[in-house]
């Protein structure tokens, strides 16, 4: 199906072999930005989410000050539209990557935007863990570290994977948005050909590719989550 579709496209008037190559590269670049950003953003978001749960009033180590700070940071970052954030952090991007455009440069704002988002996803997953199980671990003399690593993260595993799937989809969307300012990848192609040159066919192909990518990620994520969930009798 898909190959026939590409075949048809490549023989079309406006889309040649070079275009197919460009789309293939765009797909790879998009995947690169999405995956690297997601991994890097989890390095920020996961500890931040854990800290939010642990320092909450009814958490394992309540700490109003730390909780409030993280809470406010998460809210501020998440309330800035991504496109604005992208522009706001250009100086930071320049300092880290050396330039403000291109796929690698896009990763910086993606990580900054996704980190707090991930923190919220992780927070809500961890809050789903049965309080009774945590209490049981406490009654056995478990410390905070053990409870976080061996009880909360393990019990919330499936929910965390579903969260990661949602995060991947969101970052993919953001990366496409970064195309408007020369971010590279499929979003970039869609903007340049679809918007600036008004080549609708190329725009539609990129849109379909983006949809397919999200579908595949979603399918794989949900499958993995279910496969690892021991609450389901299988």
């Amino acid at each position: 199906m898909l190959s026939e579709f590409f075949q048809a496209l490549s023989t079309g008037a406006s889309i040649g072999n070079t275009v197919v190559a460009m789309l293939a590269e765009g797909t790879l670049v998009t995947l690169y930005m999405t995956l690297v950003s997601t991994i890097a953003a989890y390095l920020i978001g996961l500890p931040m989410g854990i800290a939010l749960v642990v320092t909450a009033d009814d958490g394992l180590r309540p700490n109003r000050i730390i909780y409030k700070c993280l809470d406010i940071v998460a809210n501020i970052v998440r309330s800035i539209p991504f496109l604005i954030l992208l522009i706001l952090v250009i100086p930071v991007t320049r300092a880290i990557v050396g330039k403000s455009y291109g796929p690698t440069a896009t990763i910086v704002p993606l990580v900054l935007a996704a980190g707090p988002f991930i923190a919220r996803m992780v927070e809500s997953s961890l809050l789903e863990v049965d309080r009774g199980v945590i209490e049981a671990a406490q009654s056995m003399g478990a410390g905070t570290g053990y409870i976080v690593a061996k009880v909360m993260l393990v019990e919330a595993r499936s929910s965390l994977i579903v969260g990661a799937t949602i995060v991947l989809g969101t970052i993919l969307g953001y990366s496409a948005m970064a195309g408007t300012v020369g971010g590279g990848g499929l979003g970039d192609i869609a903007i340049r050909y679809g918007y600036h040159r008004y080549q609708q066919d190329i725009m539609w192909v990129t849109v379909i590719l983006l949809v397919l990518l999200v579908q595949v990620m979603q399918w794989a994520g949900i499958r993995l989550s279910r496969k690892l969930d021991r609450r389901v009798r299988n």
Binding site: G132, M140, G141, A142, R231
Partner: protein
């Protein structure tokens, strides 16, 4: 010998934003080593808070708890975690880790205590045999029934050779048959390993079944405590009476207001005591409540009878029962 658990003037107040709840009001109670002590009360009486004070999951607002003469209130967080490995706990909803296998669940306390993985697995398998689930090691909790889950929880509780086992409504989510089998298992554990057991429950039948001692908590206060026999035969406080009689609402037709409670404890279950009494006295009684069982040919339990209006008949019946060495006491206001 010093009691293994000494609860000294423990009070606990929960403070909300603009209200406060006194869950416990100065409770003092000793629990001896090797006892099975029931702590019973209506829901909201404070018993769950009290049991959490015994391992300091809940810190008392005032007063303290001594475990083997060691004052929990003087302990650091680290010391508390250490002593908690000696005080196991099981729960109403089992609280097993759903994402870990049965075997891994039993290994958890040993993992916390730093036991080597290989030794832990070996001991976990032994414990699963003790609770009769040797074949379920590789299963996950979701694949087990309620009774089986509680057995896993008990195996887990025994992992670190605790001195004390706290049971928080451990049978309340189970059906009567499963409850009986879990209580039997607890009794066996108490006898074989000499573990002191504290059982929190709202069911008198649980206390009757296995406890040696009972403490009745009512509205945050210790209403009464003693051996189960003492409290069951002659409840003094109104809270105790309420639990023992389990007040049954009004009865119609028989108009007499005179009721008695009789306790069976040594009569042969083959002797039809009540039927003989009716034949002998030629007057009828109304059985308002009966909770008896046959244990090894001896009748155990209690019955509440509404006596005939005629005073002479009623007196004769009481005499008849006393002659047969039954404990008889008049119950006031049982019927209205």
């Amino acid at each position: 010998m010093e009691p293994i658990i000494q609860i000294q003037k423990v009070s606990k107040t929960f403070r909300g934003r603009d209200n406060q709840v006194e869950a416990l009001k100065g409770i003092t109670l000793d629990i001896e080593k090797g006892d099975i002590c029931g702590i019973i009360g209506m829901s909201g009486a404070g018993k769950s808070t009290l049991v959490r004070c015994l391992n300091y999951l809940e810190k008392p607002t005032s007063g303290t708890v001594l475990i083997e003469n060691k004052d929990l209130s003087a302990m650091s967080e680290r010391e508390l975690r250490k002593i908690r490995t000696e005080i196991a706990m099981i729960f109403q909803h089992f609280n097993l880790l759903m994402q870990r296998s049965v075997l891994d669940n039993v290994c958890v306390p040993m993992e916390i205590a730093g036991v080597k993985k290989k030794d832990a697995r070996k001991r976990a398998l032994e414990l699963l045999e003790v609770v009769g689930l040797g074949d379920k090691a590789k299963s996950y909790p979701a694949q087990l029934s309620g009774g089986q889950k509680q057995r896993v929880a008990i195996a887990r509780a025994l992992a670190n050779n605790p001195k004390i086992l706290l049971c928080d409504e451990a049978t309340s989510a189970l059906d009567p048959t499963t409850t009986k089998s879990i209580l039997k298992l607890l009794q066996q554990i108490n006898r074989e390993f000499g573990i002191t057991i504290v059982i929190i429950t709202h069911e008198m039948s649980v206390v009757q079944e296995i406890c040696s001692h009972v403490a009745i908590i009512d509205n945050g206060v210790l209403a009464e405590s003693g051996t189960v026999t003492e409290v069951f035969e002659q409840p003094k406080s109104s809270a105790a009476k309420k639990l023992v009689y389990m007040v049954n609402p009004r009865v119609e037709r028989m108009t007499s207001r005179r009721c008695i409670r009789i306790v069976f404890q040594e009569n042969s279950s083959f002797e039809p005591v009540i039927a003989n009494m009716i034949l002998e006295c030629k007057a009828v009684v109304n059985i308002l409540k009966a909770d008896t069982s046959d244990i090894g040919g001896i009748a155990h339990g209690q019955m509440i009878l509404q006596l005939p209006q005629e005073r002479a008949d009623a007196d004769r019946m009481i005499q008849y029962l006393r002659d047969r060495r039954l404990i008889v006491e008049e119950v006031e206001d049982y019927v209205e």
